[in-house]
Subunit: 257 residues, 2 copies
DNA sequence: CGGAACTTTGAGTCACTTCAATCGGTGTGG
DNA sequence: CCACACCGATTGAAGTGACTCAAAGTTCCG
């Protein structure tokens, strides 16, 4: 099904949060040809064949990027939420060095690189994509710290905090509840821990009254305490509307195009 | 000392490896105003004050980005070699969430963001900077895997392999020797290990005849074996000249500007 | 009701850490 | 030129966080 951006536009907008678009920019986004595709859980998002021809935007559902070591151990290196463009880098690199997999049933919008190029001709849109890319890299850096220097319990709490904040930023959180349909195995692969250890870490968080996690719904009972426990500070997420995060010079200028 | 790009240009070019520049692009680079600054080892590269006003390019020496946990443990999240632009992201984000520190005496070139903007108007140069950014992110992802899923010895070997390959890519390697003036403490902070364990891991690598590391000079005695030991594959570095790494569509097109 | 997938629990083991001391090189002041 | 101090590398030994193995308990779903 080839369509124009309807719901996607609202998502793309979230990524550009804080930007009021000029008519030209508006049009560039809404006229972007996008093919919407539905996927089951645990499906690879990347088809070998057309790697360097297209990228996608996650519309609904949860996905992750992962790599596997020579010993067969999997490490998830990042989660993708609705509005993210997990394989945007293929546009610039021509290859992708991670597997990108849905973790829930999902819908993605596929955008051909030739069309994506259009967006890049708008400097402020290009800058917005830059910012998305750069803040993804910032998340990776924090993950290195998390996996490298925090022990199991803090590490687990930290990841939960990140997910809460990111979910919140895209409005996918309801009070203190939100859907987090991850298995403990997936948590383990994201945290560089064993399943058993994740299970025990979560028990501690529960016993201390910080969270509840029954079924797919995570409830954060005591956010400050969870952040404390996870040594968490959301600066690295570069969420919109923070002082010092004004974006690049291009944005601060009057609208062009 | 305000200067024009002399030696820096050769470095910037390395980043763009494989691109033959048009006269316009050539000029954009060589006319870029750059202030060269010499720094001692263990100096912070970022001065609080002008964070969002300028970025730098590392001309000589070795630097790293690091973060510190609430418990005071340091994690190095990436190394910077000559030619890298460690704080390029400040151009897009306005803030930097890591400390950037010299690890040896170093020279950096400081470029004002207003001048950097000039480069971004050249689409192929902008694309080249994108690629630099994106491949840095790819390195971060591999670090997450390394720290999360490989044991001490493999982890250590893997990092050495990365440094060898990156050094080689910028021509900073002589045969199998190259200058790697890191302390074991710095290695430990990069690997998420204790100093003691790094020391013992290195001993294994030496005893197995894979490396020699006396003083600041690392010699790789058996590269294939070291790569084997470190479960290393250099795909993620996206070094120039690899099949599938043709860069983005902008590059594949005829020169503009 | 049965089976698959996930969670939870227990117990033993190991990789890695921490603590603490020694060794070796290098620079400096006397 | 030597004594001392400092920094980094190395070693030993004890402790522990996290892993592995294995089994049992749950939940979900056809």
């Amino acid at each position: 099904m080839l369509t124009r951006l309807h719901e996607p536009v609202t998502l793309l907008r979230l990524r550009l949060a804080g930007l009021d678009l000029s008519p030209g920019e508006e049009k560039a986004i809404t006229s972007l040809p996008v093919r919407a595709v539905s996927l089951a859980a645990d499906q690879s998002i990347i088809r070998e064949a057309d790697r360097s021809q297209q990228s996608c935007i996650l519309l609904q559902g949860l996905a992750c990027s992962s790599k596997v070591t020579g010993e067969g151990k999997r490490q998830i290196v990042g989660f993708h939420l609705p509005g993210d463009m997990p394989d945007l880098l293929s546009f610039h690199l021509g290859t992708i060095d991670t597997a990108i997999t849905t973790m829930t049933p999902a819908r993605i919008g596929i955008i051909l690189h030739e069309h994506l190029e259009e967006l890049f001709t708008h400097r402020r849109l290009a800058a917005a994509l830059w910012r998305a890319m750069v803040s993804e890299a910032a998340i990776h850096r924090e993950w290195v710290v998390n996996v490298g220097r925090r022990r199991g319990i803090a590490r687990t709490a930290h990841l939960l905090c990140e997910l809460v904040c990111r979910m919140e930023a895209i409005g996918a959180i309801d009070g203190d509840n939100f859907e987090l349909p991850l298995t403990q195995e997936e948590m383990a692969d994201a945290l560089g821990l064993s399943i058993v250890h994740v299970n025990r870490s979560l028990q501690v968080l529960r016993q201390q009254g910080l969270i509840t996690w029954r079924g797919p719904v995570l409830r954060v009972l005591d956010r400050p305490a969870l952040m404390e426990m996870g040594d968490f500070n959301d600066d690295y997420l570069h969420l919109a509307g923070r002082p010092g995060d004004e974006g690049c010079p291009v944005d601060r200028r009057s609208r062009s195009s």
